[in-house]
């Protein structure tokens, strides 16, 4: 029985490590900013999830108490990761002209929130040349 539990914990650790590695490979390998964003957001879900489950099983069976800190880590990750990805995506849309021009219409008449400036203001810094020239090398600038 103890062997089966250790096997389960080891398997979960390997699965978690595998998906974390895939997430990191995706971050390094994918060609542009928006595609790269897919790597880290998925690594946090299944990769860290499997490692946290392994940790809970280990605390419960080997060390003999119910540890729930892992649930907290999951909650905080699920709160923090989408918001981080959202902010990075918004910053990227704002600073990368080719991406901005490739956006589909909202379909409601209103602009996308990132690109809508308050009354009388511009979303762009007129002093920054890089805001105007779309050089197409998004991955380099991102």
């Amino acid at each position: 029985m103890a062997f089966a539990i250790e096997l389960l914990i080891a398997a979960l650790l390997v699965i978690g490590a595998f998906f974390l590695l895939v997430g990191s490979i995706g971050l390094a390998k994918l060609p542009d900013m928006m595609r790269r964003l897919h790597g880290p957001t998925k690594a946090t879900t299944l990769g860290i999830g499997a490692i946290l489950i392994a940790s809970m099983i280990n605390a419960w069976t080997v060390r003999g108490f119910l540890s729930l800190h892992e649930l907290l880590i999951t909650i905080f990750l699920f709160l923090a990761a989408p918001i981080t990805a959202y902010m990075i995506a918004k910053a990227h849309i704002l600073h990368d002209r080719p991406t901005e021009e490739a956006l589909p219409p909202t379909g409601t008449g209103a602009p996308w929130m990132t690109l809508s400036a308050p009354e009388g203001e511009s979303i762009r810094d007129p002093n920054r040349e890089s805001d105007r020239d779309g050089d197409g090398t998004t991955s380099q600038r991102a």
Binding site: F19, R35, T45, P111
Partner: protein
């Protein structure tokens, strides 16, 4: 009731998180958690003008189950795409998801769900709050992806929140 406990759900959440932080159940920890859970909503009440109405709490569990299952399935699909496909050959694109949800809480949960299920990342909201910009890692069928998001997640969130 509403003056002492302006936000009963938040009270329960704070107490629960306090117990999780302590990581051991005891009467003292529960009481301290309850004190914090009562005091924090009292002091932060002005920052929470709206109260989300959760119509079907039990459906949250079903929703979480579906999301966890989707995370597992689509993680495997995306791992395959990352490992065995060249990055340039992925047909990535933005899609617009028109929203039927109106409450901010429901839209936040939907956007978070889209990001956490691999293959899609929510990138922006329209200024009027009625459509969501989603980036897909690999899709040949944008309408199908949008329909799936609406059918699988938005419909259920609408039942829970609205």
């Amino acid at each position: 009731m509403s003056r002492i406990l302006p936000h009963p759900v938040l009270t329960l959440v704070i107490t629960g998180i306090w117990l999780l932080l302590v990581n051991a159940f005891s009467l003292g920890a529960l009481l301290l958690g309850l004190v914090i859970g009562v005091l924090v909503p009292l002091f932060t009440g002005p920052y929470w003008p709206g109260r989300p109405h959760i119509r079907h709490p039990l459906k949250i569990l079903a929703y979480m189950g579906i999301v966890v299952w989707d995370i597992v399935v689509s993680n495997v699909q995306v791992a395959y795409l990352v490992l065995f496909r060249r990055g340039e050959s992925l047909r990535s694109r933005f899609v617009t998801v028109p929203l039927e949800l109106r409450t901010p809480e429901a839209i936040s949960v939907l956007a978070g769900t889209i990001t956490m299920t691999p293959g899609t990342v929510s990138a922006d909201l329209s200024a009027c709050g009625r459509s969501l910009l989603v980036h897909c890692l690999e899709t040949d069928d944008p309408e199908g992806t949008v329909a799936q998001i609406k059918q699988r997640y938005e419909r259920r969130l609408k039942e829970i929140f609205e």
